[in-house]
């Protein structure tokens, strides 16, 4: 009994020479009564140590579903992973038995959720909720894990951590709650932190602080950060690499600097233009016309074609090549990627 328990403690062994995260050809389908919704469609993602990858997209673009698939917390059913591999340091998480997979969660890959109030259990103190990570994965006693919890709360700069460790989630402000989520995520020093819209539920003034904290924690732990967001401002400040998703597909991928300076997909161009700017005051804020397609019924050609100002007949008939390579390091799924890069969409 005892030996079995100690076996399950500690991080699973991995080969540090293998790439940190390598997602290939990932497809997720939701089986619903109305039909099958293709939430994620053949997505590739890569993340290196110390890197920040921003996955950008509207709601329903598949960015959150991809993150949940990586984390292994999709509700299956209704979700079903129909193709692909998710390799962590060369090990495919998808083919691994659940017993082994569990040990990666929290220890190797950790997640910060959007709404900390509902993501924390209302009936346990925050100390208990941070501490249980140390009890389960490190075999610490209740007392020692409480000390660890205070330590973690100090690290994410919650004032008076020792006094507040016995408080319940509802007794904290939104920003402090999100700090507790971050404390839980970094507690076991994970290799990857996935932050799913970590600032959406917060006041604007607090948003910057939380983003700053996340970036700081990523630097301190040297982990890779996957930032899922629809907020371009957040992306511009923190991301090294950007993946833009639309209707379950990656439509553009590349270094943040390049994508920002010169987007290669008309959808990315639209997103950039719909971001409020300080210059050009007085202009109406641009909005991409139309709505994303229903995932139950994605159009035959390019899924963005109905909303695309650059679309031609070929876009409505043939799906674009999944990755037109540009400058050797960036990709866009568009028939006219090269022209968009050199001339824009207008």
């Amino acid at each position: 009994m005892f030996s079995k328990k100690t076996e399950e403690l500690g991080k699973p062994e991995v080969d540090e020479n293998q790439p940190l995260l390598r997602v290939r050809d990932l497809s997720v389908v939701f089986r619903t009564r109305e039909g099958s919704a293709q939430a994620v469609n053949k997505v590739d993602l890569d993340l290196a140590r110390g890197q920040t990858l921003a996955i950008l997209g509207e709601s329903g673009s598949g960015k959150s579903v991809s993150a949940k698939a990586i984390m292994g917390i999709l509700d299956m059913p209704p979700a079903e992973i129909t193709s692909g591999t998710i390799e962590f340091r060369g090990k495919d998480l998808l083919t691994m038995p659940e017993k082994e997979r569990r040990l990666y969660r929290g220890q190797r890959i950790a997640m910060v959720f959007q709404d900390a109030l509902s993501a924390l259990n209302p009936v346990y103190t925050v100390g208990e909720q941070i501490g249980e990570l140390f009890q389960v994965h490190r075999g610490l006693s209740r007392k020692d894990s409480k000390k660890k919890a205070i330590e973690m709360m100090d690290r994410v700069r919650i004032p008076g951590a020792a006094a507040r460790v016995g408080d319940y989630p509802h007794q904290f402000s939104g920003g402090m709650r999100q700090r507790i989520m971050i404390a839980m995520a970094i507690a076991l020093d994970p290799d990857i932190i996935i932050a799913d819209e970590p600032t959406t539920a917060l006041d604007v003034t607090v948003q910057a602080q939380i983003m700053e904290l996340l970036a700081e924690m990523r630097r301190e732990t040297g982990s890779g950060l996957i930032l899922i967001t629809h907020d371009l401002g957040v992306v511009a400040e923190t991301a090294d690499v950007i993946s833009v998703m639309y209707a379950g597909r990656t439509v553009e991928h590349g270094p943040a600097v390049d994508v920002f300076a010169n987007p290669a997909h008309p959808y990315t161009v639209g997103l950039m233009e719909s971001m409020p700017r300080l210059t050009g005051a007085g202009d109406r804020l641009y909005a991409i016309p139309g709505l994303p397609p229903s995932l139950l019924n994605i159009p035959a050609g390019c899924p963005f074609a109905p909303r695309c100002p650059r679309a031609e007949d070929i876009c409505r008939q043939d799906p674009p090549p999944p990755a037109v390579q540009l400058d050797g390091i960036r990709y866009a799924a568009c028939h006219f990627a090269e022209e968009v890069v050199s001339h824009g969409i207008h």
Binding site: I73, R105, A119, N121, P122, V123
Partner: protein
């Protein structure tokens, strides 16, 4: 918290006054001669009627009678039953039996209701789930005396597994069957409530967090699903304790149990109004106190609830 308890206790006074007055009024409003069966087969003598009328103040208006009744109660005089016992003595004898019956019934609710409810939720849509949803519907639909008579006949008379009636002193073994019958309705509700609450909690964001933290499945269920989903269930069971302690007139009647329910039933039949009113007052008091305890328990279980 202390202030809250004091306020709740003070609130009991008007509630108690109101209910006792209503019960008192209704008990005497039932038509019929209060002396009809007091003196065996003969009509009571005029002297006895006059003495009793004087003693019970029956010639005074109702509010005055009620005031006398309250006065006596305040002095600790709850009246006497027709066989010469004081009502207090009769209650002291009956109450432990009702408590025992309640313990048996609540045990069924806790163990079977919650246990099967959890099982059904985890096997949602399975045969087990369907079977218990159906049986709980049956239990809710049938009056408890039907369930009582059927089980008494099948398990008691035909199979001889349980004794058909409860012996004097109400030994625990005799109380199993009546306890189950008494629990059956609430058991069905507890089962369904547990199942529904569990299914809802399983979808909660904080459960997803617990899984993302790499907690083992058993721990996620025990600590983050069951614990949270039992809050409404335990509140329901708590309130049920109050109701059960008030005596189960039908079940105690079917199984001939000499508890509070039996005492009340007997007193009502022979129009022993003093007993009816006193015992009912006691029952009301118990229900009020148990409800207060349940509210305090609720705050213990759910830290978001604070009474100021």
């Amino acid at each position: 918290m202390g202030r809250y308890v004091v306020r709740r206790l003070l609130m009991m006074i008007p509630v108690l006054l109101g209910t006792t007055f209503l019960i008192y009024t209704m008990a005497w409003a039932i038509p019929g001669d209060p002396f009809a069966s007091r003196c065996g087969q003969r009509p009571c003598s005029d002297a006895f009627v006059a003495a009793e009328t004087e003693r019970l103040h029956l010639d005074k208006p109702l509010p005055v009678q009620y005031a006398y009744f309250l006065g006596n109660m305040a002095k600790g005089d709850f009246g006497t039953t027709s066989n010469g016992q004081t009502v207090l003595e009769a209650t002291e004898k009956a109450f432990p039996i009702t408590v025992k019956l309640t313990v048996v019934a609540i045990t069924f609710e806790l163990v079977l209701g919650i246990g099967i409810g959890i099982l059904a939720a985890l096997r949602r849509g399975g045969y087990l789930d369907g079977f218990f949803l159906f049986t709980s519907l049956v239990a809710i639909s049938f009056p408890s005396f039907v369930i009582g008579f059927v089980l008494q006949y099948l398990l008691g008379v035909k199979l001889g597994l349980f004794s058909v009636t409860v012996g004097s002193g109400a030994p625990w073994g005799d109380l199993i069957l009546p306890g189950f019958v008494l629990a059956s309705l609430s058991l069905a509700y507890v089962l369904r409530l547990t199942r529904a609450s569990l299914l809802e909690t399983l979808q909660a964001d904080h459960v997803r967090t617990a899984i993302a933290k790499g907690l083992p499945r058993g721990m996620v269920l025990r600590k983050h699903v069951v614990r949270n989903s039992l809050i409404p269930v335990l509140t329901y069971i708590g309130a049920d304790v109050g109701a059960l302690l008030g005596g189960a007139i039908v079940t105690e009647g079917v199984f001939n149990i000499q508890g509070i329910g039996g005492l009340l039933y007997h007193a009502m039949r022979i129009r022993e109004n003093a007993t009816v009113v006193s015992v009912t007052t006691l029952v009301v008091l118990i229900i009020l106190l148990v409800n207060l305890l349940v509210d305090l328990l609720y705050a213990r279980l759910d830290p978001r609830i604070r009474y100021e």
